[in-house]
């Protein structure tokens, strides 16, 4: 049978199409999860803003005990949405930079935000001289709210955020360097993990369509990490300080965290966003 040139072209075109195209996630299927993620981030930011207000009020009132108590439960909202928050480099630096980022160390003029306040509250054990830093933190968090509201979330940053959060855990949480003065790293740890799990949950139907076994493996590793973290939960819903975490538990966290970071880094590809 003689083929028309058009039919021939179509056949050739089909043969040339990589198989993956047929299995790929339709881009428009990502609209629901990406927008739900923005709604989640917005809610977390509302919480961050109101908790930061209470935290900085305590700092300015000179109530050291309350300020110390509120430090970690406030930060956790920042940690859970870090993939979006850290897109704004200037605010990420002024809200969440660590002393290592500053040449002149703790006394650097531009060392501001949570960790600078943490240093005074937990290392110097004082609220003295923190008024301007407290006001600055409040203002920066509100600024972050406004900017996130105006940001169209890039889908690849949303999906890539799950791996970014786990890399954050691997790089700074297991070593205990994030909250080196307060040793409240486990709050941040849980915040990062919860933020990553949220992303996986939102895209679960799309990922499952691609690779069911992958989702099961990721769930299992999340459960392992959660189980170890749960051992250190305190009665008030918080966490023990990081120095209480036993060596074998620190070691036991490394495997699942690294595997999660590695696995989640393939999400973008799985959802056709590379």
């Amino acid at each position: 049978m003689k083929k028309t040139p058009l039919a021939l072209l179509l056949t050739l075109g089909l043969l040339n199409t990589p198989l993956s195209v047929f299995a790929a996630t339709a881009p428009l299927d990502l609209v629901g999860p990406v927008s739900d993620y923005k709604i989640y981030v917005t809610e977390q930011l509302d919480e961050l803003a109101s908790h930061t207000q209470q935290f900085t009020d305590a700092v300015k009132k000179g109530d050291l005990a309350t300020a110390q108590k509120l430090y970690a439960p406030t930060r956790v909202y920042y940690e859970s949405i870090e993939p979006i928050a850290e897109l704004f480099s200037d605010l990420d630096a002024s809200i969440d930079s660590r002393v290592d980022d500053h040449e002149k160390g703790v006394k650097a003029e531009d060392f501001t935000g949570f960790h600078r306040i943490e240093y005074s509250l937990f290392s110097e054990k004082t609220t003295q001289g923190l008024d301007a830093l407290a006001d600055g933190l409040d203002k920066d968090v509100k600024d972050l709210q406004t900017r996130v509201a105006g940001l169209t979330f890039p889908p690849e940053k949303v999906v890539g955020g799950a791996a970014a959060l786990l890399e954050e855990v691997a790089a700074t949480k297991i070593s205990g360097e994030e909250d080196r003065y307060s040793h409240t790293d486990l709050y941040d740890f849980q915040g990062n993990i919860d933020g990553a799990k949220k992303i996986v949950d939102l895209f679960r139907p799309q990922i499952e369509k691609q690779d069911k076994a992958f989702v099961a493996k990721v769930d299992k590793n999340f459960a392992t990490v959660d189980k170890i973290l749960a051992k250190y939960k305190t009665k008030d819903g918080g966490f023990e300080t990081y120095d209480k975490v036993k060596d074998n538990d620190r070691k036991a966290l490394v495997g699942p965290v690294n595997t999660l970071a590695e696995d989640l880094s393939t999400l973008r590809g799985k959802l056709g966003l590379n």
């Binding site: 339709a26 881009p27 428009l28 990502l30 609209v31 629901g32 990406v34 927008s35 923005k38 709604i39 917005t42 850290e86 897109l87 704004f88 480099s89 200037d90 605010l91 990420d92 630096a93 930079s97 290592d100 980022d101 500053h102 040449e103 002149k104 650097a108 531009d110 169209t152 979330f153 890039p154 889908p155 890399e167 954050e168 790089a171 700074t172 056709g272 966003l273």
Partner: protein, 399 residues
């Protein structure tokens, strides 16, 4: 005494040989490792796209980079003594980054870069920013002219869904407040709260009109019913408007207000459950503006009892602004020539509407004369026409 020493001397000699042997093997292995890593490093250096950046204590080297558009790999070598970060910034926004690069180690950052100028965060925050100049290529020029892919619409459509969610919540909140005023028999308060509730609805109207039956329950005018205002089927906003502004009587109105609250609650749910195809993002706004230009502006029939039409037109216009803002990045890339016309049409309609602003809102529509109404219709039509060019320009028409 020498006899016992001799057998003892023998093992140390063997041990010495063994140690010497293992040292030789170690040196050889070390040499091989050195050679292999040199080769690997050389190979990396030759990797066509890889740009090596060294972070020193106070600066990066090189600090000014130029690469062609497209995929680029940067190998960041940390030669300072602390863990540092390296970021590519577009304004304050991070395009790609690597945090916590340990001292003495290197990491590769892959980025897909559009032509333009970027800044680099280079180690310590006090270090001078580096520069990254990305030059256009034949491929990037071609890509710039190409129609956007479907993936490019995920961002704008997601953001529009977020807008529907937040405006949906605002509508529920406003109708709840209106409901309470009606329940408590406060006519003046109910009249005042009708306006923000309508504005919230009118921001959603372009999308709500896709949900025919539900939208009728919320927004139908008396004309659609056999017995007009007296028809038992006449419910929703305009039934409330009729009671609040024409009858000035709240009697028996509570069930109507409750039904409206139920309906707007399911409106929000259904708007979020529906998926909006990309070509409809603009076309629903165009349709909404067309009804404004063709009917609503001239007749003032929409808010015939309260004459609050301008309050609604301004809310429609806010959604038109929102949609243009969401598509602006795509338009600047693929159909930049349309933007000046669209922006002018938006600004013209803004100016017209602003001309009717009074102290805390807009002029009552019964004070707006025929000539002025025609001007409102014309500006809305011009905006609808300008927006109508978007879908074909983005390759979305006929889908």
């Amino acid at each position: 005494m020498s006899k016992p020493t001799s057998p003892q001397a023998s093992p140390p000699r063997a041990l010495r040989w063994a140690v010497a042997g293992s040292v030789v093997v170690m040196i050889a292995a070390g040499g091989l490792f050195y050679y292999a890593s040199k080769m690997a490093a050389a190979k990396r250096q030759h990797n066509r796209d890889e740009v090596v950046v060294n972070i020193h204590d106070h600066s990066c080297e090189p600090n000014a980079l130029t690469v062609p558009a497209g995929r680029a790999s940067f190998r960041i070598v940390n030669r300072s003594d602390r863990a540092v970060e390296w970021e590519i910034l577009d304004g304050v926004l991070v395009i790609e980054e690597r945090e916590n690069i340990a001292p003495g180690l290197s990491q590769v950052i892959n980025a897909n870069l559009q032509p333009g100028d970027y800044a680099i965060t280079c180690g310590l925050l006090s270090n001078p920013r580096g520069t990254l100049h990305v030059t256009p290529t034949a491929a990037s020029d071609a890509a710039a002219k190409a129609k956007p892919s479907m993936v490019a619409f995920v961002g704008p459509l997601s953001e529009f869904r977020v807008y529907l969610a937040s405006q949906g919540s605002a509508l529920i909140k406003a109708v709840t407040a209106l409901n309470q005023a009606i329940a408590s028999g406060d006519l003046a308060q109910a009249q005042a709260l009708y306006l923000p509730a309508r504005a919230a609805y009118q921001r959603l109207a372009p999308a709500a009109q896709r949900l025919g039956e539900l939208d009728n329950g919320i927004n139908a005018r008396a004309d659609y019913f056999e017995k007009r205002e007296q028809d038992p089927g006449f419910v929703g906003f305009h039934r409330l408007e009729y009671a609040l502004f024409q009858q000035r009587n709240l009697e028996g109105l509570a069930p109507v207000a409750q039904r409206l609250l139920d309906d707007v609650t399911s409106l929000k749910q259904q708007l979020l459950a529906q998926s909006l195809p990309p070509e409809q993002l603009v076309s629903i706004v165009v349709r909404n503006l067309n009804t404004l230009a063709d009917v609503r502006a001239a007749s003032g029939e929409e808010e015939r009892y309260s004459h609050s039409d301008l309050n609604g037109f301004a809310a429609n216009q806010q959604t038109a602004h929102k949609v243009v803002d969401l598509l602006r990045p795509l338009l600047s890339k693929s159909a930049a020539e349309l933007l000046p016309k669209i922006d002018r049409a938006l600004a013209d309609f803004d100016t017209t509407l602003n001309g009717f602003k009074v102290k805390d809102g807009y002029a009552s529509y019964d004070t707006v004369n025929g000539e002025q109404r025609k001007q409102i219709a014309d500006k809305a039509q011009a905006l609808a026409d300008a927006l109508d060019a978007i879908d074909p320009a983005l390759g979305l028409s006929g889908l």
